[in-house]
Symmetry: D2
């Protein structure tokens, strides 16, 4: 249920014109570090049914059934788990240049990958955002076969496409302001704590609930990558198949329905502890006059509409973020607000 | 909608004590003749997801995901399509003996297969019923691994188990009387023509709508074998997968909901033209005081609850039946009543 | 996954001939005591979508969409919650007499209700079983309109029919033996503790997993009444509707899939704390040669196939049973074995 | 299956900058003329479950469960059926002025409705497009309660929101060019006849397959309004509920899956013969580098992926369009290309 009686003045309606001048289309792919590529493939490909586009000596490139871009999930062999980068697709090469110029002027440290330097991609811009999140922007992707109507190949969770990033940062309000004003993200829904302070925001460029959610928490950390499935039955099938294949312990939370976003969800921990979400049933958000929906942190229907409490691990654990400067995992700072609802299991 | 205002006196309530003294548990498996085993496997196993138990030089033994008996569908290589035999499971070896004695006394010609003579089976009794349908009865089946919770192996239509036979005979009333009185089948639902004459009966031993349906038509012919799937989505998935694999033309009728039985159905023609049904959503029928449901042939909601007309082929085509005496396909006689509703496509 | 390597000698295969000589068809209806009929109707009828057949000053008679018997759930106003009676349908009036004679000879105290004494029923036999469970047996029920194809009336969880009772008794082995030998129940699946002792049994007369489950626990108590729904989506819809109507806190456990029985389940506590289960996706069990499936209590996939732990309340709480002698709730005795798995939430 | 080997040069990639300078967000609502408001409400509200926002003496304003705009379907009492107007939402009032100026300069005849002149709307711009289709544009709509999480109110087909218009015009190529170049629509998929000439185009502003499809046919006519439902089960439920309520004959085509768009569809004729589609399962289309998918008219998987042929009525019948000048229904001209595939039922 929506608690929309009052609104927070600092939350904008609609998607503002970005100061960066860059037209970001959508979140596009995420990269996790994994310690064992074979085990990762067993989990993601053999059981969950991600489509394998390509594998190199140290990296696995996966996509969903409806995707024609080369990859939407990258798994890179590393000595420790963690989040490599969060990639957004922009409208054109010019958008990359505008963005690079804008963030350099603001003191961030953009760097470039030449076309093909990351397999399946054109020229890519990378920088850690002011909060440490490792962002990548790309305009061009190698096109591969779209398998939407290859129903004979549907397996496991029948993952359709990448949907969103969810991240934790110590100062949510600052992060909201940066993504909104600099990059032009709109706010679909948000959470406030008991004092009415902004606790989390769901931010969108494409026309559904979010491309990136930013939550109050120890950060910078990547909480999860969300993948879209067509319906709740795909989520239940994921549970059944995971359990049948011996991956039952990967199920951390759900299946259930979020109050916020209305999504039917399932949270999984991959063999390295990186978290992904299977996500269905959110809604179209195309209108510029959208009024962001406000939830209070302790509303029992916010986290799970049916009233189930999330487990403590869902708040405790998240992936550390890689620095583009040295490839090291960035240190974190504690959350500025209390980092979870009053009741967890 | 049920048109139950009047009932036909010749239709019994409940399941009568069978004169044969044999306790038939349920319909158990069907055998079709196919002209190309490889093509049949491509259709049934690779696309529809039947589980392959075993293959010999000339025969393929398949089963559903929930079944632990060796097979529920037998595909035997032959020069022409057709129905080999329709098998029922009985409670014990004694039931086989009682039944053999009873039908021999009535002038039928029972013959025996020794245990193992048909792979995966104990001793089997076979005879063509008074209408020519090739029946088999067996008490013991080789037990194999039940895959109900091997969700990782679910594919295609996710066929769970054999459900029923549907057959055409020229004299439905006589066939009803024989199956009811001699073998102890109960009637769940039935159809009458505009003159109120019995046109088809759905007959059950196990506790759902039917183990065998007998319809007025050119016969003896086997109209279809029905396989049970858990829900309508399995039926839709079957359509998607068949079309993706190039078997779209095998879809003859449906998906849709039957008025009679309430089943969500799909009729397929295998590569040899033999017909199978994917069948979900009928109901529990355990009570001996069940009042058979009466439908009129031309009620538009009987055939398809939503009003869709069946295609003419659904009435024209059916599998010829093998004789146990010489393996030849039996000649047919025309239906005694008009053999279809007034409106077909 | 099934742990069937060894079997318990005291568990019979198949359904034995009952010593009572009574042909029990199936579990048929349950009666709960509720303290506020209006609140109970709001929960069961308005939200969950049970069909109301009739209401008297102190009792509400409900049924599912596929049922033609007058009621399958009786809610009787009382000062305290509890279980009134557990009713089974038998094949004929003679079965009632045979059963009454048999249990009286064994020292139980059968009593009779005349036809119509309980609304919607013929003559009924009642007695508390040797463990205190309040059983009723009836052959004839008033027939009412079956709403299976009145899809316009489907609401809430779209409850189809009664499925089973689940009860707790201190001595499960004795209860199994009585239901098996005296009443002719077969065992579909069972649970043993780490010492291999029988901890729970699922017992059936109709052809699915159970009509009554008997679990080790403080007893006599009724753990839940199980109602059958067609598929997991009905269960998810129940959660959504309950939450939307403000009954979210009634959700105690699930949705999830049981390993034992394969059922997709949801456990709810009604406004008085009585427990019901929404239950889908078990299987046909018709064969007399069924080999009971053996599970160990601490197999994490037994309780929830996906590995979720049940809450402690699921073991702690259950409904006390009424005595037919004085209408008082019977005292309980503690379980003989440890009463839950090692891990609960 | 996609037949994308060659592409048509006149089909643009991506969404071009519109010459009109107006930012059209999405298709928003459609108006049908109905001859009996009560009968229309019985069909749309009571059976299909559209939400009624408001009714005046001659008009019924309906919406879907996820919508917060005042209406997405308008049913206006009239002496004959027909299409009143097709409304698009634009980003701002300025967009309306730019668009009015642009089309007036091109010789069309824009007219204005003041805010509130049509209930629930701000200022609206109307004109018949060059092909006669009656378009409306509006920036501001009265906001009403969004019922997305009022699962207790979900009924019938559980219609979520308006999705698209489908129209017939004699010269599809000209219509494509106008919608693309003047209004900035992108093309997701299109159909060519055997000679490779453009036969139909699916055009989008919001990020899925289409806001408006333009097909070759007698025109100007409105073929259908498409409404989005969450999944195929909502479509099946629509069939069941329609049949149970006596509206079975309203089902014209489907349920089935379109090859083009991948949508799971159902076409209904309302009591006046106006056509609507229940529509699920298409895909996200956000990228500007999207390559339009090309289908050939006679590809049997284009119309229905499973191979079912559409009925002739689906091509013969469509709603005439109202002129904004005099309220009369516009005359039609015949299609320039043959107006259907070679095979229909």
């Amino acid at each position: 249920m929506v608690t929309n009686q009052q609104t927070n003045a600092e939350i904008r309606r609609g998607r503002p014109e970005p100061r960066s001048g860059a037209n970001i289309i959508r979140s596009a792919h995420g990269e996790y570090r994994v310690t064992d590529l074979g085990r990762a493939r067993a989990f993601y490909v053999d059981t969950l049914g991600f489509v394998e586009t390509e594998q190199t000596a140290d990296t696995l490139y996966l996509r969903g059934l409806e995707e024609r871009d080369h990859h939407s999930l990258v798994l890179r062999k590393s000595s420790t788990p963690g989040a490599g980068h969060l990639a957004f697709k922009v409208a054109s090469e010019d958008d990359l240049d505008r963005l690079a110029h804008h963030v350099a002027a603001a003191g961030l440290k953009p760097c470039w990958l030449a076309s093909g330097e990351e397999i399946g991609q054109g020229r890519a811009l990378r920088f850690n955002d002011p909060f440490g999140l490792p962002l990548e922007f790309v305009a061009e992707m190698t096109q591969v076969e779209r398998l939407l109507q290859r129903f004979d190949l549907y397996r496991g969770a029948q993952v359709m496409r990448f949907d969103h990033f969810n991240c934790q940062v110590p100062d949510v309000r600052a992060a909201y302001e940066w993504y909104s004003a600099e990059l032009g993200f709109g706010c679909s829904e948000y959470t406030v704590d008991d004092a009415g302070r902004i606790w989390a925001t769901w931010l969108q460029r494409k026309q559904n609930v979010h491309d990136i959610a930013v939550m109050n928490g120890t950060g910078p950390r990547v909480h999860h990558f969300g993948f879209w499935v067509t319906d709740p039955l795909s989520v239940l099938r994921a549970c059944d198949v995971l359990a049948a294949d011996g991956w039952g312990s990967s199920i951390e939370r759900g299946p259930g329905r979020h109050g916020l976003s209305n999504a039917f969800f399932l949270y999984l921990r991959d063999p390295d502890g990186n978290r992904i979400e299977m996500y269905a049933n959110d809604y179209l958000l195309a209108d510029p006059d959208w009024e962001p929906i406000r939830w209070t942190l302790n509303d029992p229907r916010r986290a799970t509409f049916w009233g189930h409490m999330p487990p403590a691990s869902w708040f405790d654990d998240a992936a550390l973020c890689e620095s583009f400067e040295d490839g090291q995992l960035l240190p974190t700072a504690p959350a500025q607000l209390y980092d979870r609802p009053d009741h967890v299991t």
